[in-house]
Symmetry: C3
Subunit: 222 residues, 3 copies
Amino acid sequence: MATQSPLLLALDLTGTFAFGLNGALTAVRAVQLDVVGVVALGMITALGGGVIRDVIIGSFPPATFVDWRYFALASVGGLLAFAFSRFLDRLEGPITVLDAIGLSTFAVIGASKALTHGLGIGPALALGVVTGVGGGTIRDILIGRIPSVLRSDLYAIPALVAAGITVATTQLDVYGLPAALGAAAVCFTIRMLGVHLELNAPGPPWRGPGTDPPEPDPADRH
Amino acid sequence: MATQSPLLLALDLTGTFAFGLNGALTAVRAVQLDVVGVVALGMITALGGGVIRDVIIGSFPPATFVDWRYFALASVGGLLAFAFSRFLDRLEGPITVLDAIGLSTFAVIGASKALTHGLGIGPALALGVVTGVGGGTIRDILIGRIPSVLRSDLYAIPALVAAGITVATTQLDVYGLPAALGAAAVCFTIRMLGVHLELNAPGPPWRGPGTDPPEPDPADRH
Amino acid sequence: MATQSPLLLALDLTGTFAFGLNGALTAVRAVQLDVVGVVALGMITALGGGVIRDVIIGSFPPATFVDWRYFALASVGGLLAFAFSRFLDRLEGPITVLDAIGLSTFAVIGASKALTHGLGIGPALALGVVTGVGGGTIRDILIGRIPSVLRSDLYAIPALVAAGITVATTQLDVYGLPAALGAAAVCFTIRMLGVHLELNAPGPPWRGPGTDPPEPDPADRH
């Protein structure tokens, strides 16, 4: 199975670390938190998506609670963010790249794991996206923000594309390490293009009277 | 079992579609969202209550992730809301009726499923209500609103009544399709009376100093 | 096993009642809610942490849904808070003590149960804390507040210490009723010292430009 490939595992662990770091940095910028809060939010960002996926497909305990490396990397990321937020704030570029690696890997592994557990196409797509964006969504709820994934940036869409390629190649019986890496690479490319070109997903044609324009949020970073 | 009746299934699917449509419309009115956000919130509104129920009773994967019709109807409802929000905004009446059908059916099926899985009276009542109101509650959290079910309208109470009738008839060994439809009809009637007479559940006699009066929320619609 | 000790059970039930009462009181003070909302938030505060723990370790149905006394005490606490909020508001001292008993017991039982289900040290620590603070966190999210556990007071840290003692004594094979009570007593002492000396966990050295100072929240009480 592709999930056991050392390369995918390395990408998955890299993404976990990046989500822990980036999730905690977002939290530090957004609200006044103590050390427990910062590290907890980093860990929730890093592990939350996979936990939701495993709980919904009924795989207990969640994978990230069994392999200690996920827990360790997520908490180290959160602690680094707590200690070095001033310095890390200047490293937005590299952190965004690491974060996109996490998003891509999580979406592919999430969709693949859902299929392995017998779910259909729709749920597999949904769980691929949820694995990628779920942790950041819980973090945003906890710090009192409308999850940025719902309203700005190309973040959920590249995850959906990666999940779609994973599902399609599995249906065609050609899913394996090359397909997984290809799906992740497409997601990564769309995400990075979105960051550089500041692309957004389309909004609805009409939103009702008296709705406010979206406020730009200085803390926004997935 | 009453849940397998074609009539209850039809009501359940109708409710799923209505929750998807109505949940997405509420989201469109409340915050600036992109297409992914609107459809995701519609699906979460439609499927969220049943997922929480199934996760708590340990029924994996959740029913709505197994039968593709739930996923399909929820996402179609969300997509219609995204595309035609301007037009649908004028259809508040019919949509409220469909939504009340969903609430009623979900509460009955939720309480019945909890009893079937061996839970007691209290948990079955709670899970009946959660099945009916859980999806809308998650949606409200995600769009940064205090869940309207907690503070206004008769919404949770009719669901609680429906769950109560379901539990009582099951205890008396007379639960079946007629009892299920009767419980749903009572819930539907209370809910529609509440809408037309603008009834609210009673508030606490005293709330402490310095609390604000409740703000009317133009986006409020369950 | 220590969890079956009558003393630990009594502390656990006391904590459940206190969390239901205190959780509902916090909700009453913070937002305009109807009776369903107040009781629901009390029950969520009392039962939420244990439900998250049991769902993550895959123990279904959650313990608090099987033993009716948890449900009963949590809802009675919520109902008392609804009916007597004016009077109870003056009893902050005793309620804080009961709440600290709940926090301490929940953290010890949570960590111990995670270990019993085969989880490692990190996850057991995390689930001990989550059992103690999870219910209040969900309540705060539902009433639109940033969870106070993330940003103020010594609340998560004593829970972490109690979970740590539980894990350490289990590793050393000396865990039992004395160790459990000792761990709970240490947590209780730190928590009460924190309340009386108004101690807070340390914040990050730097938080980024343009962040607001923390607003004191009159409704803040865990």
